[in-house]
């Protein structure tokens, strides 16, 4: 009887402790607010910007090589209001997206196949690793010969860059599945299909999401390479065109647009990642 009471009390307090810790994870009780934390990240670039503007203002750095932030902003407004910026950004974003979807999608698919089946690993992995070792820049001349300087060569170059992170991380995620959970799947009578859908793939999601982020980063990188080398449109073209006329502010605008676009896509992926990995128990800082 007494034991019962202890047991019940135990369950009750366990319940309270559980829900309290759950709430604690969502809302931090003390410490600086979200805005203050976000502001922390702006401190450094903000300071640099102010210093830069001041140095330019007093003519202490070359206006040709380091145009003042104010000049860059003006150039940004000109490009934005003429529509030139948006047209080029649209072209670049479209290239990145299609290259990422093609390369990343293929990387995910092959990563799954090679991860799941040892035979396909033996068949495909050595060749893929060989291709991985070829620098992207080295295949550019070949791509241009084959496909001209049209969209295909650029999208393919981006796809090659985006392929490998997703391929490798998907593969690693699948191979990293905990053997102990495999035993559970066997005891629960999972079919081979269920083992893949309900164990292997969910277990690989953290790695796959990391692969997505790295692939996206490399896709933007591939875009810049493609557009700087041979192109008649896009942000990269806008930059190399400006370089020829020594229009340094436009080059800076291009850099800033690339940085912003990269950050934006990465943030979007991270939001998806957070949602997908709500279950993960790891250090949040």
């Amino acid at each position: 009887m007494a034991e019962r009471a202890v047991a019940a009390g135990n369950a009750g307090s366990a319940g309270r402790a559980g829900s309290a810790s759950r709430a604690g994870r969502i809302r931090r009780p003390e410490g600086p607010g979200k805005v203050a934390i976000a502001g922390l990240g702006l401190l450094l670039p903000g300071g640099v910007l102010i210093l830069w503007q001041m140095l330019s203002h007093y003519g202490m750095i070359s206006a040709m090589l380091f145009p003042a932030p104010y000049t860059i902003a003006q150039s940004f407004i000109t490009l934005a209001s003429s529509g030139e910026l948006w047209i080029n950004l649209r072209v670049s974003a479209l290239r990145t997206l299609s290259g990422f979807l093609l390369g990343g999608g293929l990387g995910l698919l092959l990563g799954i196949v090679v991860g799941l089946f040892r035979r396909s690993e033996k068949l495909l992995d050595p060749s893929l690793q060989m291709i991985r070792m070829i620098p992207s820049l080295a295949v550019v001349p070949l791509f241009i010969l084959w496909f001209g300087i049209g969209e295909e060569s650029k999208v393919l170059l981006i796809a090659k860059s985006a392929f490998f992170p997703l391929y490798i991380h998907t593969f690693m995620g699948i191979r990293g599945t905990d053997n102990k959970l495999f035993e559970v799947a066997r005891v629960l009578g999972f079919s081979r299909r269920q083992q893949i859908l309900r164990l292997v793939l969910p277990a690989a999601v953290p790695n796959i999401m990391l692969g997505v982020r790295l692939s996206l980063g490399l896709a933007w990188l591939g875009l810049v390479v493609a557009e700087l080398i041979a192109s008649t449109s896009g942000i990269g073209y806008m930059m190399s065109d400006a370089r020829q006329f020594a229009d340094t502010p436009v080059v800076f605008v291009g850099i800033i647009v690339f940085a912003a676009a990269g950050l934006l896509t990465d943030t979007m992926v991270r939001l998806v990642e957070r949602r997908l990995l709500r279950w993960q128990d790891s250090y949040q800082g």
Partner: protein
């Protein structure tokens, strides 16, 4: 007595390792009736886990026969529930989805059974919590519910409460006995805690190590619910402990530690 639910005859299991051969189990004979609660006790490395894993179909390559309802164990499956020492829940699934696992929670009959089991293991209010939000005892209760949903013919538990503190452990013992009283699921429960073995089991199987052998099977003829403080409980506990100490002496003579 009719045909036993589970019968183990002349079971021998040897592991071939780099360091030589290990006789994990030798000539194990055990008959388990339907609805029985068997506890298995013995020092570390005496083959308790190996015995359970063979019954579960997880380990193969033994000699002798192991039959469930007269049929040889083919491989792992839902008729043999298994609770590991760690809860082994799927970390990405909530409590209720872990219990359902591969079964569709959307089906009304499964939904209802899952809800009943959550009630049975006293986890109401935690249906949508993730494993990381649970205490060790709660997670282990989810694992038990997950096994029970499949209505196993026998539930195999390998030191399921070994990692829990004394209070939680005592609580889990009453929860498990409650489940057993209601469902009459046949249980084989491995532990290295003598109190736990005597408190739970109809019979206590005492294993001795190197090679893993049954030393003695002690029937515990005490009515449930048992109280650990009664003299009859203490007498039986001492009886089991006695065999245990003989096992210890045996080990010391061989110059091997636990």
């Amino acid at each position: 007595m009719g045909e036993a639910l589970l019968s183990i005859r002349q079971l021998n299991k040897r592991f071939d390792t780099a360091g030589g051969q290990v006789q994990a189990l030798e000539d194990v004979e055990l008959e388990v009736e339907e609805g029985e609660f068997i506890t298995v006790i013995g020092p570390s490395g005496c083959g308790k886990s190996t015995l359970l894993r063979i019954i579960a179909g997880l380990d193969t390559g033994y000699t002798g026969s192991v039959t469930l309802e007269g049929k040889a164990i083919g491989g792992p499956g839902i008729d043999k529930g298994f609770i590991f020492q760690e809860h082994r829940l799927f970390p990405w699934l909530t409590v209720e989805k872990n219990i359902a696992s591969d079964l569709p929670l959307g089906r009304p009959d499964i939904r209802q059974r899952v809800d009943e089991l959550i009630e049975l293991v006293k986890l109401g209010g935690f249906e949508t919590a993730y494993p990381r939000e649970l205490s060790g005892g709660m997670a282990q209760r989810v694992a038990i519910a997950r096994a029970l949903l499949r209505s196993p013919k026998v539930l195999l538990l390998d030191e399921p409460f070994g990692a829990l503190d004394a209070f939680t452990r005592a609580h889990m013992q009453t929860v498990l006995l409650d489940i057993w009283r209601r469902n009459r699921t046949t249980m084989i429960f491995v532990t290295h805690d003598i109190d736990e073995a005597v408190f739970l089991g109809n019979r206590v199987v005492i294993l001795e190590p190197r090679p893993g052998k049954i030393r003695k099977i002690v029937p515990i003829d005490l009515p449930y619910p048992r109280k650990k403080t009664t003299t009859s409980f203490q007498e039986l506990r001492l009886k089991v402990l006695n065999y245990f100490e003989k096992v210890d002496e045996l080990e010391l003579k061989d110059g091997a530690g636990i």
